[in-house]
Symmetry: C2
Subunit: 350 residues, 2 copies
């Protein structure tokens, strides 16, 4: 039905990947804001910081010394949330207290030797080196047969809990499939069972045809605001080819992914002329877990900002207790992101 | 099994209410923190603020004037996320773009005429007046047959998106059952189908017997850190009597609930000697939706602070993309809360 008014009526939208709904209140942007205003993080870092545990040549908490690396660099997290040698054990009291040990390997990956840069400020070839390292780590971690899932992600900005501004991401790999992946597996499996095709391929085709939420596109990837986005400027990168993990990307695809990441994160920075905070990460098939022909690689970006560089969306009472809720529509967000330049504001402003 | 070591091995625990898991990394508290430190909100408000839209006698955005109220006071939210007159309509494009209009009524409830107080600083009888008003609103909102769920909640503190420090909460009622309630209904229904008894009654009995996570108890309610708590100092109030909504609480229960809320929020304030931020709210059966004998009334408290008044837990990259994760154990949190006084630090310190 074309008469359905997504622009003005409060409504709910279905996240086809998780089966969960988001409440959309388009009229609510008129609400004035008298609440919390975030501090702007200082943006005058040196290229090298002698106290940073990610800069080349510096000491780390475990006593190691970083090599004098030139591109990206990976090492085991000195404060890993998961440990490799956790014994297999479990607890079940009447199905009321249920727990199970979990093993894992957590890594940190520095995106650049330069302390003062962020992803949008790297060249496409430097970002391609990061994508290469992600792929290499994914492949080698999955050689551990007990590892069932590998989460590659980045927390960017203080407001997203990032405690070191040196450009870096993390990889947590673990012996159990985490919740979000369980949900996305189930939905994609159901679709695949009926259609013998990827759900995200069908979705992407529809989005490219409608062209209402597409933000950026190149030969191998599309960036869009998903129809069911929860965060104000949430986006998703989807591969045009249906592959279930980063393992299958060829050189052209890795370069195209680097280009898409650069374009998207540059648009983000340009939106409020600030180093745009977000948490981002890839979703892909579980490993050492049989075939997953239903799985379609994609990458989510969850940025918290709503109105400006200092006013974020709060996912609090109603959202935590009842249902995710958003104010601006995904279509509004997509339009704003689409029209922004892919030249970084720092390079175009003196 | 008693040998399962919850105190030191990374493990996952099952939330029996939602069917979702939380990852617990007890050893991770040793991690140093160099990241974001929150501002302390000023705590020197006047008893009456002429610019506050919740103070007695003041103007509101819709042109109304607040009465000169003496206890608590409720009115329709001037910036409601849901509207009463939204037309019934829906959209479905190949099961890929799925949306549905949603109706609702959103209200604001002031807990006290005094601008400078918070729940723990009210008397038990003043909090009982709030509980009475919650019950009255719950009963009258459910008279609208199209309303299927009523979410009563409070966002406390700037860090929880609260834009006015005047003590207040909200009530969002709506034509669809929100996600968290769908999950909790399903799990409680499954348990009830097998046991013909309330899952939370069985859980509460086990917790009271073990006495490892109980924080406070009176004749009608228990406050505990749930076995599967996600937030560092998350708690839950459970009614000892199995009733499915606030509608069924008698006078003694309403007073006991007020006492439990006062005790818990006072302990929270005492923990870091700060006005402790949280989002809290009741979960109860859907309304105008047939019998729900499986449902057991409870109230969740989700506070963000982890280490101090200014360092919170960040639910970011891994948590958003993969799985909720916590550092300190629920048992550690329960012990700390249990040993704290139920006298407010402001009244005991000069
Ligand atoms: O309605 P308020 O208090 O202005 O807004 C606050 O609570 C709402 C319900 O949890 C959230 O949607 C908002 O993000 C938050 O700022
Ligand atoms: O590992 P880091 O960067 O110290 O920590 C950050 O990311 C983690 C993974 O999302 C979170 O659990 C932490 O709360 C956050 O501060």
């Amino acid at each position: 039905s074309n008469s359905f008014d997504l622009d003005s009526n409060p409504h709910r939208r279905l996240n086809i990947l998780t089966g969960e709904w988001v409440l959309v209140s388009p009229h609510r942007t008129k609400r004035p804001w008298h609440g919390k205003v975030e501090d702007l993080a200082a943006d005058n870092r040196p290229e090298y910081d002698p106290k940073c545990y990610l800069c080349p040549g510096n000491d780390r908490a475990d006593g190691d010394v970083n090599p004098d690396y030139k591109e990206s660099f990976v090492f085991k997290n000195d404060f890993s949330a998961l440990l490799e040698d956790t014994p297999a054990d479990s607890l079940n009291d009447d199905d009321l207290l249920v727990a199970k040990n979990e093993r894992g390997i957590c890594k940190v990956i520095s995106f650049s030797p330069k302390h003062n840069l962020t992803l949008p400020e790297l060249t496409v070839s430097e970002i391609t080196a990061v994508v290469n390292l992600w792929q290499k780590e994914y492949n080698s971690l999955s050689e551990n047969e007990w590892i069932k899932y590998i989460q590659i992600f980045e927390n960017k900005g203080e407001i997203m809990g990032c405690s070191n501004p040196h450009p870096h991401g993390q990889i947590w790999s673990q012996s159990e499939v985490p919740m979000e992946i369980v949900k996305e597996t189930e939905r994609q499996k159901n679709y695949y069972a009926v259609h013998r095709a990827s759900m995200l391929s069908a979705y992407l085709k529809l989005e490219l045809k409608k062209n209402e939420r597409v933000v950026f596109e190149n030969e191998h990837f599309a960036v869009l605001v998903p129809f069911w986005a929860v965060w104000p400027y949430e986006t998703m990168i989807i591969s045009k080819r249906h592959v279930n993990s980063i393992k299958f990307f060829n050189m052209a695809e890795k370069q195209a992914l680097a280009e898409a990441i650069k374009a998207l994160t540059t648009k983000y920075d340009n939106l409020f002329e600030t180093s745009f905070p977000y948490s981002a990460g890839m979703h892909q098939a579980p490993v050492n877990d049989g075939d997953h022909p239903e799985w379609h690689w994609h990458m989510h970006f969850y940025p918290p900002l709503l109105r400006s560089a200092t006013v974020k969306k709060f996912m609090v009472g109603y959202e935590m207790l009842a249902n995710p809720q958003r104010d601006i529509t995904p279509e509004f967000a997509a339009n704003r992101l689409k029209e922004l330049a892919t030249e970084h504001y720092k390079t175009t402003k003196p």
